[in-house]
């Protein structure tokens, strides 16, 4: 029996980005013994990378803005695949959550009246994003981190969680993982568990995501009997850096376009005017002159097409590059230099200025940036109840990027940060209420802990196995080439097979060296989650035979109303005893997929879709 330490709490929250921190603050405030467990140091989670702002209909810049318009924008941005109730709660509660951050010390940029300033972003009818220059995520995570520390939330930093634990009745009752600095194992028991582990981007070669975004939460939820939805709808952000290769994929904030930046091809044309889809034609400028006037006068002009939702812009850039009108390094040009003064650029986009200057040697106040699509965000994720964030596995709650539903098939910029605080809080409440209602001693299966630890240590026992780095590299190549921004049935079939082959390789990797802070071994233990979520994306993409939002099929280029009326729900039967996958997890072959009708929107909300003032 391998050794491990144990800790008992009422609620454990796994993941310490915006959603995890907010959930922990809430559960702790309810008087429950709460632990926050995270894979990196506190304050380093991917939320820190969010740049442009947090969307909330505060109405500080446009008093006519309100939750109804925000709700409508979110639903349309998601091509109506969203869970309407999540979109409603999100739009209604975001303003209070943003003001709450201010009460906890956040310092957003101000309007002339001294209120929180809001900026324009794609798909939002009004200037709606509260922000701090272009480092809003840092402001948010620091505020929440400081609040959680001040409130006395207990934090377990640099702990990689391997598996969730269930009691004899199948109720989620804890988790097991290891301390990265020591390599020693740790088990938690808890009356309820919140997952807030973020995204899945590390399965692709070019991504805005950090190494942590390996889909641990989605995978662990599936292994524990929860469902995932819309995993095929991966968001490719239209503007990532493309050169040098060292930074290919690194995020260039949408705020560049929100603040006036325009996209041009190698012929110098603002090509986005050629790609305005029917759905947004009525609210999009059809001339450069009108688009330019809109920045100062939203009431009498329509928005420029550079501010269409992200899926539209990413596909358009992809098409321009394919047509041979790309920039020298396979992107297009994003020009802010000719649109704002150098001083304004440095003030409004300071981290973009430094990022390009220091990493690419480009002065964005004088030259255009080269940008192209980059894997950015999981629109789908763990299936949750809108009000409580409860998953379909009892005792398990989920919030933030790893939860699906709110964003439908495509998330609007700025809606991720508001998602974190709205549903992070709700997850804290949901988990706290579940914990309070749970009676009796929490028990977990010690045999499951032992087998998880043994499987995790197996790479050290194997001699001459493959390097986990090679398997990861090949997975990234597979997903980038076959499950990228534009997909076809034959390539997705090929990807399904390749993922199965990669799973076999991952089950036989070796690790060398000691247990202490060993990145090769750590990567070996991340591979099972990466393979599981990659399979979900490929399988979902194969089944969704239409193009919608973040999911584009070359062989089914149009939206299909029938496909648009269902969510693809994925899961692993709880009865499975399969451990043939990597790291002793159920094989990716055991993931099932079922179309389930999307929840029907009440008539009063349907009416909002046609809001006149929303155009």
């Amino acid at each position: 029996m391998p050794e491990y330490e144990t800790h008992d709490f009422d609620v454990i929250v796994i993941g310490a980005g915006g959603a995890g921190l907010r959930a922990a603050i809430e559960a702790n405030a309810k008087g429950l013994r709460t632990a926050l467990v995270c894979k990196s140091l506190l304050g380093k989670a991917h939320t820190v990378m969010a740049e442009g702002g947090v969307a909330a209909a505060l109405g500080n810049v446009y008093p006519e803005d309100n939750w109804e318009v925000h709700f409508r924008d979110t639903m349309r941005g998601g091509k109506m695949l969203n869970n309407w109730r999540m979109a409603q709660l999100h739009a209604q509660e975001a303003p209070d959550r943003v003001r709450e951050l201010e009460e906890w010390g956040a310092l957003f940029d101000r309007t002339k009246d001294g209120l929180i300033l809001q900026r324009d972003f794609g798909g939002h009818r009004y200037a709606r994003l509260a922000h701090v220059g272009d480092r809003t995520g840092l402001e948010m995570i620091r505020t929440l981190q400081q609040k959680a520390v001040a409130d006395g939330v207990e934090v377990f930093m640099e702990v990689k969680v391997l598996r969730l634990l269930r009691d004899a009745d199948g109720v989620v009752s804890g988790a097991v993982g290891y301390w990265r600095p020591s390599g020693e194992f740790v088990a938690f028991t808890a009356k309820s568990v919140v997952l807030a582990t973020g995204g899945i981007g590390r399965s692709w070669m070019y991504t805005t995501n950090s190494w942590e975004s390996t889909g641990d939460g989605v995978a662990m939820a599936l292994w524990a009997g929860a469902d995932a939805i819309e995993m095929e709808c991966v968001q490719f952000h239209p503007t990532g850096m493309v050169w040098p290769m060292s930074v290919r994929g690194l995020l260039v904030t949408e705020a560049v376009r929100g603040d006036g930046g325009v996209l041009r091809n190698s012929d110098g044309e603002r090509f986005m005017f050629d790609y305005i889809p029917e759905m947004f034609a009525a609210e999009t400028a059809d001339s450069e002159a009108e688009g330019d006037r809109w920045y100062d006068d939203h009431a009498n002009n329509r928005r420029p097409p550079e501010l269409l939702p992200r899926d539209e812009v990413a596909r358009s850039i992809n098409s321009e590059v394919k047509a041979g009108r790309g920039s020298p390094h396979g992107g297009v040009f994003l020009d802010i230099a000719s649109r704002l003064s150098a001083e304004d650029i440095r003030r409004r986009l300071p981290s973009m200025y430094h990022q390009f200057k220091e990493l690419a040697g480009v002065d964005i106040t004088a030259e255009a940036m080269e940008v192209g699509p980059t894997c950015h965000y999981a629109n789908g994720g763990v299936r949750v109840d809108a009000d409580s964030t409860a998953t379909t596995a009892p005792g398990l709650f989920a919030a933030g990027e790893l939860a699906g539903g709110l964003h439908g098939s495509n998330r609007l910029g700025g809606n991720s940060l508001s998602d974190l605080i709205v549903f992070g809080r709700r997850a804290g409440i949901g988990a706290a209420e579940f914990a309070e209602g749970r009676t009796g001693r929490v028990t977990v299966d010690e045999g499951e802990i032992a087998s998880t630890i043994e499987a995790a240590l197996a790479p050290f026992e194997r001699d001459g196995g493959e390097s986990p780095y090679d398997v990861h590299h090949d997975l990234q190549t597979t997903m980038q080439d076959l499950v990228g921004i534009i997909r076809t049935g034959s390539e997705l079939e090929e990807a399904m097979g390749k993922i199965e082959a990669l799973e076999e390789r991952a089950a036989n990797v070796s690790a060398s060296g000691g247990h202490q802070y060993n990145p090769g071994w750590n990567l070996a233990t991340d591979l099972p989650s990466m393979l599981t979520v990659s399979r979900c994306v490929a399988q979902g993409a194969l089944n969704r035979k239409e193009s919608r939002g973040g999911h584009t099929r070359e062989d089914f280029p149009r939206p299909d109303p029938e496909m648009g009326s269902v969510n693809f729900v994925q899961g692993i039967p709880t009865s499975t005893t399969d451990t043939s996958g990597a790291g002793g997890t159920p094989s990716v072959r055991s993931i099932t997929i079922t179309p389930v009708p999307i929840p029907v929107m009440p008539d009063e909300l349907k009416a909002l879709m046609e809001l006149k003032e929303a155009y």
């Binding site: 070019y206 950090s210 202490q516």
Partner: protein, 301 residues
């Protein structure tokens, strides 16, 4: 597929040739520099080369990193002796043809290779009295949020740019060369945090006595090493530490200010109250309007 086009650039990224890297390997028990020779490509940063080293030669080489964009402050190291972020140090800025040394931060205990135990910083953070805002005015309650002028928030915003890379803590000679000072010295990162709160338009806690008595502000002799290494270009010495020193001096030694406090009653919370807001001492207990209500306060603020 557009990815074929991308692949073209992967291949065309010219190799700048082989580089020699001297990387410190070891743990708390000791270690030494180990030489690695490997290729580097155009436009790469030190972290790219470290990653290639892990993938090809040293799979167990420990280093922290997250965003690889200078925004999370995880990959701090000492590159050719200078504290810097590995993700923001381009290879071409280092002397060509010479071995490059990469060592862990010196001010903190080694865990393994380039990873150090930075828990000191998290402990100091816990001892800083938390943010303590004034109540909203009637107008603000109606408007829904606090009113603050942009010019007033900008001073604190400068310090809130901090990514907690702890390079300033690493380079500060008060703790770099004197482990024993860690119990009585908060360090530049946390002086910036205190400055941020002192200058926050809403915060009502007076932190000056704590800075003087518990956080060792006086031990800083403004050599500006912290400012020099800050990847966020925060003017830690000029804009945080020196103004804090001035405030502390005013509070402690200015006879006019002393007399003023005697006559007028302070409006900021006292040390004892501020102390009570520190998470290590339990939940926040400050009544922002204590002074207004005439509740006696402890001296020293």
């Amino acid at each position: 597929m557009a990815d074929e086009i991308v692949r073209q650039y992967v291949d065309s990224a010219s190799t700048t040739g082989n580089v020699t890297m001297n990387v410190w390997r070891g743990d708390a028990g000791g270690g030494s520099f180990v030489e690695y020779e490997l290729e580097a490509k155009e436009g790469e940063v030190v972290l790219d080369v470290i990653h290639r080293m892990q993938a090809t030669q040293a799979p167990d080489l420990a280093c922290r990193w997250n965003c690889k964009a200078g925004k999370c402050g995880s990959c701090s190291a000492e590159i050719n002796g200078k504290p810097a972020l590995m993700c923001m140090t381009r290879m071409e800025t280092l002397p060509a043809g010479e071995p490059i040394t990469v060592a862990p931060l010196k001010a903190f205990p080694i865990i393994r290779d380039l990873v150090t135990d930075v828990s000191y910083n998290y402990e100091v953070a816990k001892r800083i009295p938390s943010f303590n805002p004034r109540p909203k005015t009637t107008d603000e309650l109606k408007a829904g949020g606090y009113r603050m002028a942009q010019i007033d928030v900008e001073r604190s915003q400068e310090f809130r740019k901090c990514i907690e890379c702890f390079l300033c803590q690493d380079v500060c000679h008060v703790i770099r060369d004197h482990e024993e000072n860690k119990t009585t010295f908060a360090g530049p990162r946390f002086f910036a945090r205190s400055a941020e709160l002192e200058m926050h338009p809403l915060d009502v806690t007076d932190r000056r006595a704590i800075l003087r008595e518990e956080q060792g502000l006086g031990m800083c002799n403004i050599t500006k090493c912290c400012t020099e290494v800050c990847p966020e270009h925060i003017k830690i010495t000029d804009n945080a530490i020196i103004p804090l020193k001035e405030r502390v001096v005013d509070a402690s030694y200015d006879p006019v200010a002393w007399l003023g406090r005697k006559i007028l009653r302070r409006t900021k919370a006292s040390v004892a109250e501020a102390r009570a807001t520190s998470p290590v001492n339990g939940p926040p207990a400050v009544q922002p309007d204590a002074a207004v209500r005439g509740i006696p306060t402890a001296v020293g603020g």
